[in-house]
Amino acid sequence: MTQQELQHLYWRASFGLNPAENKSLPKNKKQLVDALFINSYPISPIKIDLSFMDGVSLKTLKNNPKFAQELRVKSRKKLADLNYAWILQLIESKQLLREKMTLFWANHFVCKDNHVVFAQKYVNTLRVHALGDFRTFVKTISKEAAMLKYLNGKQNRKNQPNENFARELMELFTLGEGQYSEQDIKESARAFTGYNHDFDGNFRFRIKQHDHGIKTFFGKSGNFTGDDIIDIILENKQCASYISDKIYRYFVNPKPNKKHIDAMAEVFYKDYNIENLMRFVFMSDWFYDEINIGAKIKSPIEYLIGMVKTVPVEFEREKDILKIQRILGQTLLDPPNVAGWKGDKGWIDANTIMVRLKLPSVMLNNAMISLKNGETDLKDDLKKAYLKKNKSNLPFRIKANWNRFSENYKLIDIDNLQDYMLQGRTNIGTADYLKTLNKSSKQEYCIQLMSLPEYQMC
């Protein structure tokens, strides 16, 4: 496998690759892909300190609305901690593929909850099933407390059906738009009646609120439960196609290729095993086609995590990490709506492109991007003064660990640095311009490369 292909695999299955890690990797494709899966077999759920909820029960809340309000405020603050913990996990985890898949599913089974206990439970459910059995995954999600709230499943009762979840289950989670009738939605909503959760977020089936009547769904009739409905949906091959298409556009290329997606659907339909599907993708020759390399616009999280994996940083203030996500347009745990982030070109507008181009220098180099020799009128002492002045004006307090970067890129010749930091084609004019840059230090050159439109691609 070439270096570009290796980096391609690691950009899609994770957040890029440090050249220092190269040596420890196996050489052939099969072993490389195997290693990705084996390293992701363990599951590390996120666990933040939630002791503020200790001893609290539904009764205490009902009797004391003021206390309940205080807890709500606390819970919302704790969401920032959960967000931070997730970001750290993305940076540090060795379960690379599991974390990447978790991020993918978070924008598939989209959900949002201000109750931090439920929110944490939800993101860990994603983690547990990320590479597992899709059927079990969907069934678990249908019973997840945060989801029961978000899509009104708990308000879905016999004689008072709420169709919200049933509709999204088919439209967004399994089949895609236009693959069902309004009648199918009505009937399947009835099957999910009685779904609820207890105070701690465990699933509760309220049998009295369940509609035990006969439902007719996709031409079948019976006293269906929610699980039955999911089984019937998965019998439809369209479900395997729909998920394959989404996986393809996220992991391979935002422009779909019908032939490859059909091949994926064949594999997935056999057993709905997510690991098998992903193995098929990463083992396929077409995955490494030149057309797919560097074809994808990094999501803000991919961009940010990739950057701090290249140049490790320490966030001195937790709130900075939230602020960075916000200005980039993707805050974990805070999706725009149930359809999730649109992705691809949707990430980029006039403001976000400039933020992305400028952010590496602001985060890592006191907002300085140096120019080629002779073009800057800043003398060394003046530059120092400028840097000092800039530092007090910076919006974030972040310590960049350039020593670790130097260590990781020790064996890379500075003239080849761009091959390790950029994926895919570089614009010809830009490539020419890069050649004229005075490459006096890897650090400066690294910042220059990170400040390019090309760095937005993976």
Partner: protein, 395 residues
């Protein structure tokens, strides 16, 4: 002043000095020819309690439903039944002059009581059961926009409302910062060297294209915004700053048709009165200053201000002296020469509520949008508002 700065400033001063008069005259004509209507959106995020904003101060049901929360003192009476929350007193002159139209009971069928979802519905002009990925103002831009700066949002993030299928407005809380960023000499060099036309069909080409657009838009906004236009003093809060910037852009004659502003914190589940009093004051004082500013510059006649919230709140108060998520709500339209100023319609019945205990809507918010598009922006609502709507007659 150091020498560099001095040279820079004096160079700037002298270039202004030497602008021939005929060019200035030409500029004036050019601005006039662009004579178009501007729309300013004010979003009250969190779900403003409409019943304590426009108060049915003679209605027994109101007092019964809100024993602790009903506003009993200093209601500013506007009609026999309805009056302003005391905080809205700065808007009284507008109401009296016929420059404010209050549309009651605005909502949509099968109301959704989730903030996120309901805000999406308002921003995309969708129905309760459909998900659109583009906003109504974005689709307006798709059809009628030429430059990204035709629509500006005073925030770091572009709202869904401002995202079209092919065209996005610009979000910037600080246009000077955006300009400063685009002026980094490194980026200038990158743009100058960029030379591959074939790439424009690919994602990378799109990035370059957006970068170039950002640079030219930021430059346009920065260079065409006259800093000293505002004589008006604004209150000291973030929302006022947004409006002040909008006034600056409008009074400078920027070719921007839509401005988007937002004030948040209206989700008053507990201890509502203090919070809402503060927020409504911020809103009314800022809008008052804004309108005055526009009037002084003779631009009010070309500006329409629409204020909305994603939903109203439950008629009955809750145990924490707050209110829970409701449905239909009032919408404010501010402008000169309104066809129907004052109260556009009566408040819906407080005794005939929906199953949830919320007001029933009588005006679809999409017909408010459609009316603004056709009667104010002079464009067809077709392709912008997905469902056909009746045109109203407030403008």
């Amino acid at each position: 002043m150091d020498r560099r700065k001095f040279i820079k400033n004096s160079a700037l001063a002298s270039s202004l000095f030497f602008v021939p008069n005929f060019i200035k005259a030409f500029e004036a004509v050019a601005t006039e020819q662009l004579g178009y209507k501007r729309l300013v959106i004010v979003q009250l995020a969190g779900g403003n309690d409409g019943l304590n904003t426009i108060i049915p101060y003679n209605n027994d049901f109101y007092f019964k439903a809100r024993p602790q929360l009903a506003i009993t003192k200093n209601v500013i009476k506007l009609s026999d039944d309805l009056g302003f929350h005391p905080s809205l007193s700065p808007l009284r002159p507008l109401f009296d002059k016929g420059e404010l139209s209050i549309i009651n009971n605005v909502g949509y069928p099968n109301p959704v009581r989730s903030h996120f979802r309901s805000m999406d519905i308002w921003q995309t002009a969708s129905g309760a059961d459909e998900y659109l990925q583009s906003g109504w103002l974005g689709r307006f831009l798709d059809q009628h926009g030429k430059k990204p700066y035709n629509a500006l949002e005073m925030d770091e993030q572009l709202s869904l409302a401002m995202k079209g299928e092919h065209f996005n407005g610009i979000a910037t809380y600080d246009y000077k910062m955006l300009y400063k960023t685009t002026k980094d000499p490194y980026f200038k060099n990158i743009i100058n060297h960029y030379n591959d036309t074939h790439l424009s069909e690919h994602n990378l080409g799109y990035l370059y294209q957006t970068m170039i657009e950002a640079k030219s838009s930021a430059k346009y906004i920065y260079e065409n915004t006259k800093v000293a236009t505002s004589q008006e003093s604004y209150p000291n809060n973030g929302f006022a700053k947004q409006l002040k910037n909008v006034a600056q852009f409008i009074n400078s004659g920027l070719d921007t048709k839509v401005f988007y502003t937002s004030l948040s914190g209206f989700d008053t589940h507990a201890g509502q009165n203090n919070k809402q009093t503060k927020l409504l004051s911020q809103y009314a004082e800022s809008v008052f200053a804004f309108v005055k500013d526009l009037k002084q510059n003779d631009t009010f006649k070309d500006t329409l201000i629409l204020t909305f919230s994603e939903f109203g709140r439950r008629v009955k108060q809750n145990a924490a002296n707050g209110t829970d998520h409701g449905s239909a709500n009032n919408v404010f339209v501010i402008g000169k020469d309104l066809k129907q100023a004052g109260f556009y319609n009566n408040l819906a019945s407080l005794s005939d509520l929906d199953n949830n205990g919320d007001l029933k809507y009588s005006v679809d918010f999409r017909s408010v949008y459609a009316t603004i598009l056709s009667n104010w922006m002079n464009v067809s609502a077709k392709g912008i508002i997905p469902t056909e709507q009746k045109t109203m007659n407030f403008i």
